[in-house]
């Protein structure tokens, strides 16, 4: 019971508890079983305080999304794109100037590079020719987890972490699929189906001396 506690753990748990009560979802991080158990319990103690009733605003926004999804799912009717759902939801949730700012971020359709040019470092992730056409290879580049994909002879790399809730995606068919909620992405990382709000970020690649390098974060191995 009185085993020593690391200050690191103490601070992490405190930050997590603050995040639980805050407006955003707590960030996922690799944890050991003890820490996970403490987090799970903390999350469940909160219901004693707040009761967990939804806000009217949320219910109304979701009812609208569900209505749009029904319209989109019906054959012969114009499909409402995933992006349009998000846009509507954001507009409803934020309203006015906030919505315009949020759309600016979402509207940038092209996947952005995960690690900015000039930052991070290059990691050797495969030999040229190692990934056959149609194939995929998982790699780690510092703190970056991604897939190297060969589509029609062209190599590209995208992040292996779903933009919805941070689960891992796996290659399936020509694209990638999230194991948690079934979001699907094409080989360019674009959202094809599901709840992912943004494309999988692209990871920069370069080829030198028969090896493929991916730009990842600068971290000690």
């Amino acid at each position: 019971m009185s085993e020593p506690v690391s200050l690191d753990r103490v601070a992490r748990l405190d930050a997590y508890l603050d995040a639980l009560a805050g407006p955003a979802r707590p960030a996922p991080h690799a944890r050991d079983a003890d820490e996970l158990a403490a987090r799970m319990l903390a999350a469940q103690l909160r219901v004693a305080c707040t009761g967990g009733a939804p806000t009217q605003r949320f219910l109304q926004a979701l009812e609208q999304r569900v209505g749009e999804a029904i319209a989109g799912a019906r054959p012969g009717r114009a499909r409402v794109s995933r992006r349009a759902f998000v846009r509507n939801a954001v507009a409803v949730a934020a309203g006015g100037a906030g919505a315009a700012a949020a759309l600016g971020e979402l509207g940038a359709g092209a996947p952005h590079a995960l690690v900015a040019a000039g930052a991070g470092r290059w990691y050797d992730v495969a030999a040229v020719g190692e990934v056959p056409p149609g194939g995929a290879k998982a790699f780690t580049a510092g703190g970056v987890e991604g897939y190297l994909l060969n589509r029609g002879g062209a190599l590209r790399a995208v992040s292996g972490i779903c933009t919805h809730m941070g689960c891992r995606v796996k290659p399936v068919g020509d694209g990638l699929r999230c194991l948690c909620h079934d979001s699907r992405f094409d080989a360019a990382g674009r959202v094809v189906a599901g709840l992912a709000p943004r494309p999988l970020p692209e990871i920069d690649l370069r080829v030198a001396r028969g090896r493929v390098y991916a730009r990842g974060t600068r971290e000690e191995a």
């Binding site: 508890l17 996970l36 903390a42 999350a43 469940q44 219901v47 979701l62 569900v66």
Partner: protein, 170 residues
């Protein structure tokens, strides 16, 4: 067309009847508003594809809870980023029983039991944290201790509470 119209009416009715309860159920297990809203959305957008006109209100409700449970388990697997945490294990760690409609009440009762079983200082800190929604700085001020000490007590208290929960589940 008639069938489709009936199906979409069934989804709307299911939403109106169950959305608030499903949100409460999910909130009780994730403890964070943004996450609860997100998972509730997942459940009802999936329901659009699943619900057909000929399903009964009971079977729809059962499906909504089952889907919510799976989404909650997936949420925690993502939080853990641990491929070893299977859905089954997450389920066992998370839920008080198989009756989802009783889960919120049971979670709340269990929280009370756990708090009652803790030493007084631990209970005080967790009450201030969760029932009064204070951060560690304010907890420290309320108890006349340093914020650093409040954070250490809070970690130990939650660890003890987790151990109590595990014993009572076993």
């Amino acid at each position: 067309m008639v069938r489709e119209r009936a199906a979409s009416a069934a989804v709307r009715t299911a939403f109106q009847e169950n959305a608030a309860e499903i949100h409460r159920f999910i909130y009780a297990k994730v403890g964070n508003r943004a996450a609860a809203e997100d998972l509730t959305s997942v459940v009802f957008l999936k329901a659009v594809r699943w619900i057909a006109a000929d399903r009964s209100a009971d079977s729809i409700r059962a499906w909504l809870y089952a889907t919510a449970r799976t989404s909650i388990a997936d949420f925690w697997r993502a939080q853990a980023q641990d491929d070893q945490l299977t859905r089954e294990v997450a389920e066992r760690l998370l839920f008080c029983g198989s009756d989802s409609e009783q889960e919120v009440r049971r979670t709340r009762e269990r929280a009370e039991r756990i708090l009652a079983a803790l030493p007084e200082r631990d209970r005080e800190v967790l009450r201030l944290r969760f029932l009064h929604d204070l951060d560690s700085r304010r907890i420290a001020a309320a108890l006349g201790i340093t914020p650093g000490h409040a954070r250490v007590v809070q970690l130990r208290a939650l660890r003890r509470a987790a151990a109590v929960a595990e014993r009572s589940a076993a």
